[in-house]
């Protein structure tokens, strides 16, 4: 897979001389990007491209390219907006390495992508050329300068009169240039024209034929232009999918999961990059009787969800890092009162406001240990898009079975990434049972903790004989405030035991690769696909490396220590900071490890190294691969 990717840029894609045959590269996978100024439709173009590829049976993974501002200045390096699509013959598990092909609406956004090291050296660039003849001399000069530099640097730049071509069909090329680009890309990348035209119809279905037809014309025009003028074709063989598949991003999958879990209250406060899950739910939750409450702040959202959970079905609150910090006191209350609660944290770069639209996994330790006092809660992470859907259902079940808080960690890279997965078949068991309103039997107390498991029955308002005052103060079996030190000790023990009880039901995760060897990589969350791809590449060279991916971070399944001990060395790999031992002042005694490394070192008493990046991008398999090779020596 990797080698073909390296060789493909040797070909020179230039305007096709008439009647010359085109060069077709047959690949197992490639990465294509479309970037524009914000509002020019590159994101929609990319999403449509991905949907067409998915419908053809390809494996795909899309990554949204999102500027930090809603309307960044036009033609700015930071303003790049668009989509990256990795297309494969087989299932694609991550966004891949640098792009093989880029469509850009101006040269400045392209520079942004080059600075972010997202483009393969020498890759093909299809560039809007209208800037060359701009009446604004500074723009024309900037364009020419960047163009010449790119060419000097070895990129295969093909200038395309996108706007000029679009003007043949529409008066305002700003609306619709993205469909012309979609046509270009579809032709170059070997997509099916019929499916592409259908996709346009689907995309604009709500707007009717008046909008669909010109957009289809533009798509066809782009296709035809590529057919007539471009000398390069990528083709990824595919076999048509046999099963229906769902194509959604991680946040929509989370929203679907909330619906399917039987929860009926989601309380939230707007925060990037989590909010799109609530946008989706706000649109559809009512169809199953659910409500989305946009609270006045993150604290209120958490408290509202706790109230709803206390009086009914388990509720969910969805947030990101800063919001998670604000919810910590509320989470502690839910732990203390043993109120089931699902807290979804779609992580972003931190600390503080950090990088709201960018990927990072920095909240693991905050999720496990963040609140004050001893507050045992369950922490799970999602590792792909399908997992986003099913994990919400699992989280709700665990929360209600153990009367615990379940924190579900996703992150910005999964939230906006799309990956098809087998369409779930509705299952009655997903749904929450009706709220218990039966009378409480005589003699049963509000916290009748089981001595072994710590589990207690939850009393819900409306249940006769169950009257008690739930309190965030230390309390006894009757929910009376505890002034007795022994009793406080005992009740903390009961709450702690519930995690041990849950832990006994967890299956040890499977090792990816050999069960023993030289190096084991441990990861969690969104990095799974990239880590396993890197491990596969390194193993292909005969190196001894395996990986382990953890879903349950707290409690952790048993048997993990034994796995770690079967390897000479262990390294945590995550999208997080860790001090570099090569820095002059850093040594074993003061090194700050990455989140997972801290956790595993404490849990397993194993010497664990770590590697990670905090560049605001999902970890690339190539970068992990280099780290593994370096570690293996």
């Amino acid at each position: 897979m990797n080698q073909s990717a390296q060789s493909r840029t040797d070909l020179v894609p230039i305007r096709k001389p008439r009647d010359e045959p085109v060069h077709e590269l047959v690949l197992e996978e490639f990465v294509v990007e479309i970037v524009s100024d914000s509002g020019e439709g590159a994101q929609r173009c990319g999403q449509s491209f991905a949907s067409i590829a998915a419908r053809m049976g390809h494996g795909i993974w899309t990554v949204e390219i999102i500027p930090a501002e809603i309307q960044p200045p036009a033609r700015s390096i930071e303003g790049a907006s668009g989509n990256r699509i990795r297309v494969g013959t087989q299932a694609v598990t991550n966004g891949g390495d640098e792009a093989d092909l880029v469509v850009a609406f101006n040269e400045q956004v392209l520079l942004g992508r080059i600075r972010a090291e997202e483009l393969k050296p020498g890759c093909t660039i299809l560039l809007e050329d209208k800037w060359r003849s701009s009446k604004d001399e500074s723009i024309a000069a900037a364009y020419t300068s960047v163009h010449d530099q790119l060419t000097t640097d070895g990129f295969q730049v093909v200038e395309i009169p996108m706007e000029e071509e679009c003007l043949k069909y529409v008066a305002d090329p700003h609306r619709g240039k993205n469909m012309f680009a979609l046509g270009l890309m579809s032709r170059v990348c070997g997509l099916d024209l019929e499916l592409a035209l259908e996709q346009v119809a689907l995309t604009f279905a709500k707007k009717g034929a008046r909008v669909i037809e010109p957009n289809q014309q533009l798509l066809q025009a782009g296709w035809d232009w590529a057919e007539a003028n471009l000398d390069i074709r990528f083709r990824v063989p595919t076999t048509p999918a046999k099963e229906p598949r769902l194509v959604v991003n991680g946040n929509t999958a989370l929203g679907l999961g909330v619906m399917a879990s039987g929860m009926d209250v989601c309380a939230m406060y707007p925060i990037t990059p989590a909010t799109s899950a609530s946008h989706y739910l706000s649109d559809v939750f009512q169809s199953v009787g659910g409500v989305v409450h946009q609270a006045e702040d993150e604290i209120a959202a958490c408290a509202f969800a706790i109230g709803a959970s206390y009086a009914g079905k388990c509720a969910v609150t969805i947030t990101s890092g800063p919001g998670y910090s604000l919810k910590q006191e509320g989470i502690g209350l839910a732990v203390m009162g043993e109120i089931p609660l699902v807290v979804v944290n779609v992580q972003r770069g931190g600390p503080s406001t950090g990088q709201p639209t960018k990927a990072e996994q920095g909240d693991l330790l905050a999720a496990c240990f963040g609140g004050h006092g001893d507050a045992p809660k369950v922490v799970m992470a999602v590792s792909d898009i399908e997992d986003c859907f099913y994990s919400v259902i699992t989280a709700r079940k665990i929360a209600e079975a153990f009367n615990v808080v379940v924190v579900l960690l996703s992150d910005a890279s999964l939230g906006s990434a799309q990956q098809p997965f087998v369409r779930p078949q509705f299952n009655e068991e997903w749904l929450a049972p009706p709220v218990d309103q039966s009378p409480v039997p005589e003699g049963v107390t509000p916290y009748d903790w089981d001595p072994e498991t710590g589990l207690a029955t939850r009393f819900i308002p409306g249940q006769p004989n169950g009257m008690h005052c739930l309190t965030g103060l230390a309390h006894d079996r009757m929910s009376h405030i505890v002034y007795n030190p022994e009793q406080n000790h005992e009740t903390i023990r009961r709450r702690s035991l519930k995690l041990a009880a849950l832990q006994k039901s967890l299956k040890p995760p499977n090792v990816f690769g050999d069960e023993e060897g030289e190096l084991l990589v441990v990861g969690w969350g969104s990095t799974k696909g990239a880590i396993e791809e890197a491990v596969t590449r390194v193993r292909a060279d005969g190196k001894s490396v395996s990986s382990l991916h953890l879903k349950f971070l707290q409690p952790m399944a048993s048997g993990i220590k034994e796995v770690l001990q079967r390897f000479d060395r262990v390294m945590a790999v995550e999208n997080n900071w860790s001090d570099d031992l090569n820095d002059a002042l850093v040594d074993e005694e003061n090194r700050r490890y990455s989140n997972m490394a801290w956790l595993l070192r404490a849990r397993c008493l194993v010497d664990i190294d770590c590697w990670g990046e905090v560049k605001g991008q999902p970890l690339k398999p190539g970068a992990i691969e280099r780290a593994l090779r370096e570690k293996l020596g």
Partner: protein
């Protein structure tokens, strides 16, 4: 809705409930604390309305007043400092069958929970909010509160409070969607009961500020008002509070005030020379958030299944036939 109506009816109590049935444990408030008067009024209300104990939830934050739910033999939720209102909103959202009360102090409501207070008024969810306002922090031992008058000496303002106090009635009446705002004092129990009873019956968020004594930290703070009945201004109206002849003889200062008159309510709220007691504002036409937010219809398992399948279909890519 989480509970089917017929099942709720099935469990409605058929034996009369007496006052003692609502009593759980001996309150641990100080002797003479104004909270005791509020507790007595609320227990009497529950008895008079014959409310099923399992259908009542008292929600509180943190502070002396927030111990209230512990002393009611009902469901209670004694949560976080300042966060009683959003918890109560969450309880209410899927449970129209419950009677929801909130007990919150002046620190809890007007300081740490001020954001929630403003929005709770705006949401107008059906609940009775009792602001136990003694104008001082009690449980943390005498610190200045937002409602403490300027100049009040406390442990954090030993040379006197620096700022003018916040007037909870003015604030409440300034918020969009306000539907019920009333004021009472703990030393006039008959009026207190009457006002809380009217608040309970109001379909929406009924906000009642109760001025109450803290004998421990501000023992003489309200004496000036208590000793002279003319310091109170009773708000009466045929659609509001009516005063018995006995009380009318004591409290001679009265104003006939239409609870629908928001402008006059705001003027009354801003009075400095007298304490207005009664219903300042009431508007039953303001929609309740839970009624607006909750979708109509019955969500049977079959409906839920069908609609989840439809959502899955929306994103499904079907194999080419």
């Amino acid at each position: 809705m989480s509970v089917s109506a017929p099942r709720c009816l099935l469990w409605s109590n058929d034996e009369p409930v007496v006052l003692d049935d609502y009593v759980s444990e001996e309150p641990r408030w100080c002797t003479g604390c104004g909270d005791l008067a509020i507790l007595a009024a609320v227990q009497r209300l529950c008895r008079d309305e014959q409310l099923a104990r399992e259908k009542i939830v008292f929600v509180s934050g943190i502070g002396c007043s927030s111990r209230f739910p512990h002393y009611m033999n009902t469901y209670g939720f004694h949560g976080l400092h300042g966060r009683a209102l959003p918890v109560a909103e969450g309880i209410r959202i899927k449970r129209p069958d419950l009677h929801v009360f909130v007990n919150t102090g002046d620190g809890d409501c007007c300081s740490i929970g001020a954001a929630h207070w403003i929005h709770a008024i705006r949401y107008n969810m059906n609940m009775t909010v009792l602001l136990h306002d003694n104008e001082i922090y009690g449980l943390t031992k005498k610190q200045v509160s937002p409602t403490s008058p300027k100049g009040l000496a406390s442990n954090t303002t030993p040379r006197g409070a620096y700022l003018d106090s916040l007037n909870p009635m003015e604030t409440t009446l300034g918020v969009a969607n306000v539907s019920f705002a009333a004021q009472a004092v703990d030393w006039a129990p008959g009026l207190l009961y009457d006002i809380i009873s009217k608040a309970y019956k109001h379909p929406g968020c009924s906000f009642v500020r109760v001025l109450q004594r803290c004998p421990e930290y501000l023992p003489e703070h309200f004496d000036h008002w208590m000793d002279d009945p003319d310091q109170l201004l009773l708000l009466t109206h045929e659609d509001g509070m009516q005063v018995t002849p006995d009380l009318a003889r004591i409290y001679k200062q009265q104003e006939i005030h239409d609870p629908m008159d928001l402008n006059r309510a705001r003027e009354i709220a801003s009075m400095k020379d007298r304490i207005p007691v009664g219903i300042l504002y009431r508007n039953e036409q303001v929609p309740c958030y839970e009624d607006v937010l909750n979708p109509a219809g019955l969500f049977t398992p079959e409906v839920v299944r069908t609609n989840i399948e439809a959502e899955l279909d929306k994103f499904t890519v079907w194999p080419a036939s």
